[in-house]
């Protein structure tokens, strides 16, 4: 019994020593990259797209023999962690990837409410984290000082920009002067974008007549929607996730609200159409790219993705692919597999041409400068409507 215990402790010590040997971010010939995605929980379609795109990005490198860094080819090893749609599990998944899997960088999580806790871990451990889809400003900002985090980047534009784009669209294209907003007050993303929309809309002469909230998981919105109907808006803005938007629109229609609905990039999942049926027809939302108005780079990605998985990539897939693209370029520029060197190279990327447009990081910030698009839902498809530049 005692001998067995001794043997086990010996094994534990040995494994600790061995894992310490690898050095940050890689064994001899591999680049270890971590992925934290929402594979289960309330937005699993996001996690699935993210994982698909990640596996595709890694397979492309490995099929080509590896990534060329400083004249040597390195294979990429991907470690996927599920955050189960929970904030605490996002942080622990990031911690696990950093300390146990010893990754050079982490991609994900996607939703801001998971990306923010994970980014705190990455920042304090000095490991690069690129969130593909998180648009809340807080992801890349230090909670205490409001200064930019040094190790946290993203591939998406941020909510102040998106809120401005939608507010301008409502004012200019839809000629709306009275807007109502219903948003999830328990989620960083929804709350942030609702407030930025309100600020721009009111700043440009419109009135926000109703600013109503609910909490994640609610399904009955009739009280808030009745209140919204009573204020007689020209347009209703729903910056909420694709799993909740269909319920909100269906209930609103049942209560007799007939004005157009507007959304944000959280609408951009094919699941929205599945859950909505025809109820979401003709409404608009802002997002990262339009699959039907693609640049040559985007076209290549869309074709490869469609061939591999049988459906058009959504914005999460495109942004995940771009996050990996940014990481490959940073690794090449760094010339070595080192956490600090990758971070420095990533911050200085001059002009990255990705699927979702060209981007570069603003001086000293993890937020890219890039443009947005407005899509319309036509016959159950997302159709390009307009461009919005930064």
């Amino acid at each position: 019994m005692k001998k067995g215990l001794l043997f086990v402790s010996f094994l534990i010590i040995l494994s600790l020593v061995l894992s310490g040997c690898g050095g940050a971010g890689g064994g001899a010939d591999t680049i270890r990259v971590g992925l934290v995605a929402e594979l289960t929980g309330d937005i699993p379609a996001v996690g699935a797209s993210c994982k698909n795109a990640a596996e595709m990005a890694v397979a492309e490198i490995n099929d080509a023999g590896g990534l060329d860094i400083g004249g040597k080819k390195y294979k990429v090893e991907l470690f996927i962690e599920d955050n189960a749609g929970k904030a605490d599990q996002s942080a622990s998944a990031a911690q696990k990837l950093i300390t146990q899997q010893n990754v050079v960088a982490i991609i994900g999580p996607n939703a801001s409410r998971y990306a923010i806790p994970a980014s705190e871990i990455a920042e304090s451990s000095k490991v690069v984290l690129i969130s593909p889809w998180s648009t809340n400003p807080k992801t890349t900002l230090d909670a205490k000082t409001d200064a930019s985090k040094k190790y946290v980047f993203r591939a998406a534009f941020i909510d102040p920009f998106q809120g401005r784009v939608i507010a301008r669209f409502a004012l200019d294209n839809l000629k709306a002067t009275r807007a109502a907003v219903l948003y999830d007050v328990a989620s960083d993303y929804n709350k942030g974008i609702a407030e930025f929309f309100k600020a721009t809309f009111e700043g440009s002469g419109g009135t926000v007549v109703a600013f109503e909230t609910y909490t994640t998981g609610d399904k009955d919105f009739t009280a808030q929607l009745t209140k919204i109907k009573d204020t007689n808006p020209d347009v209703v803005f729903l910056p909420n996730y694709y799993s909740e938007v269909p319920l909100q629109i269906q209930q609103a229609k049942r209560l007799g609200i007939t004005v157009p609905f507007l959304g944000s990039d959280s609408w951009g999942s094919a699941e929205l159409i599945t859950l909505c049926g025809t109820d979401c027809e003709s409404y608009y939302f802002s997002t990262h790219y339009a699959a039907d108005n693609a640049t040559p780079v985007a076209k290549g990605f869309i074709d490869a993705y469609t061939a591999k998985y049988g459906n058009t990539p959504d914005d999460v897939a495109a942004l995940t692919y771009d996050s990996f693209g940014l990481l490959w370029q940073a690794l090449k520029a760094a010339g070595k597999i080192d956490r600090q060197a990758v971070r420095d190279a990533l911050a200085k990327i001059p002009n990255f041409e990705g699927v979702t447009g060209t981007m570069q990081f603003a001086e000293g910030s993890g937020d890219p400068i890039k443009s947005a698009v407005i899509l319309q839902i036509v016959n159950g498809k997302f159709v390009f409507f307009a461009n919005a530049n930064p």
Partner: protein, 291 residues
């Protein structure tokens, strides 16, 4: 005025769902003095049974509702036999922990089959009328009437039939009543079957009103129904119904007249205050503890 009427209708719809689920909590508590925390998840399973039946057999609303009620009722009986019966003599805490475990088991089992939120096919034709400015949908009316109908039926069973008399007897005393020839295990099984099948019915109706279902949908609504049962006086069937309508009404009216962010905060504070003045709930009676 129109606004208040409209919101009252919303409150009736939400309240009738809460009341139906609260009945399951209160019936099980009445007979076993145990809180079946898996009940919210049985409600979720009910919604999924309805969803599967609607997809597989393409049946109209009533047969789908019955299939789901029977399925959930059988599941409730099985859960009681497998998980709760062996613990009947154990401390109450063990049974409550087991119930929480069963709930988590049901969530994750459903997650295996349906990891994505599902869209439920519309089984009831939805017509909306505008009566004097108030928008009424046929769905709302059907849900409210069906819930009330089920509650009246249950009240009748418990108060006027032999089975109901046996239930009340078992609830009163589990030591003496078996000596009088009442089959306690059978009565407990019937109670579970009725209580959980009402949860299943609520699940189907809820998924018609709010047609996006997911494995976690039962958690929050389960808590709220449990609170309804406590407010009404847990163990008391009419109390559970009243509690459900009170909670639904308070929630909707708070959201209607105050910023909706305060909804849960104000609603639950009011309920706490109510419990300070009536600690056994509105219709609950303090049970003297025999030492």
């Amino acid at each position: 005025m129109i606004y208040i009427l409209q919101q009252s209708l919303n409150a009736l719809q939400l309240g009738s769902i809460y009341a139906l689920i609260a009945l399951g909590y209160t019936m099980v508590y009445g007979i076993l003095t145990m809180i079946n925390f898996a009940h919210g998840d049985l409600f979720m399973v009910g919604a999924f049974f309805g969803f599967m039946a609607a997809l597989a057999f393409k049946l109209p609303f009533i047969p789908t509702l019955l299939i789901s009620m029977i399925g959930v009722g059988l599941l409730g009986v099985a859960i009681e036999r497998v998980a709760y019966k062996p613990l009947r003599q154990a401390p109450r805490v063990s049974a409550i922990i087991t119930a929480l475990g069963v709930g988590i088991f049901l969530e994750n089992l459903t997650l295996v089959f349906y990891p994505y939120p599902q869209s439920v096919p519309q089984l009831l034709q939805n017509i909306t009328w505008t009566i004097g400015g108030v928008t009424v949908s046929s769905l709302q009316i059907i849900i409210i009437l069906m819930s009330l109908g089920l509650m009246v039926l249950l009240d009748f069973i418990v108060r006027r039939t032999m089975v109901g008399m046996a239930m009340r007897a078992v609830s009163w005393d589990k030591t003496i009543v078996p000596l009088m020839g009442v089959p306690v295990n059978l009565v407990i099984s019937i109670t579970f079957a009725i209580g959980t099948s009402l949860g299943g019915a609520a699940g189907v109706m809820y998924s018609q009103a709010f047609p996006v279902i997911d494995p976690y949908m039962g958690i929050m609504i389960g808590w709220k129904a449990f609170i309804s049962a406590v407010v009404g006086g847990i163990g008391n069937i009419r109390g559970a119904m009243i509690g459900g309508f009170i909670l639904g009404g308070v929630e909707i009216m708070v959201a209607a007249f105050l910023p909706s962010t305060y909804r849960d905060f104000v609603a639950f504070t009011l309920l706490l205050v109510l419990l300070i003045f009536r600690p056994y709930g509105i219709l609950g009676q303090p049970r003297p503890q025999k030492v």
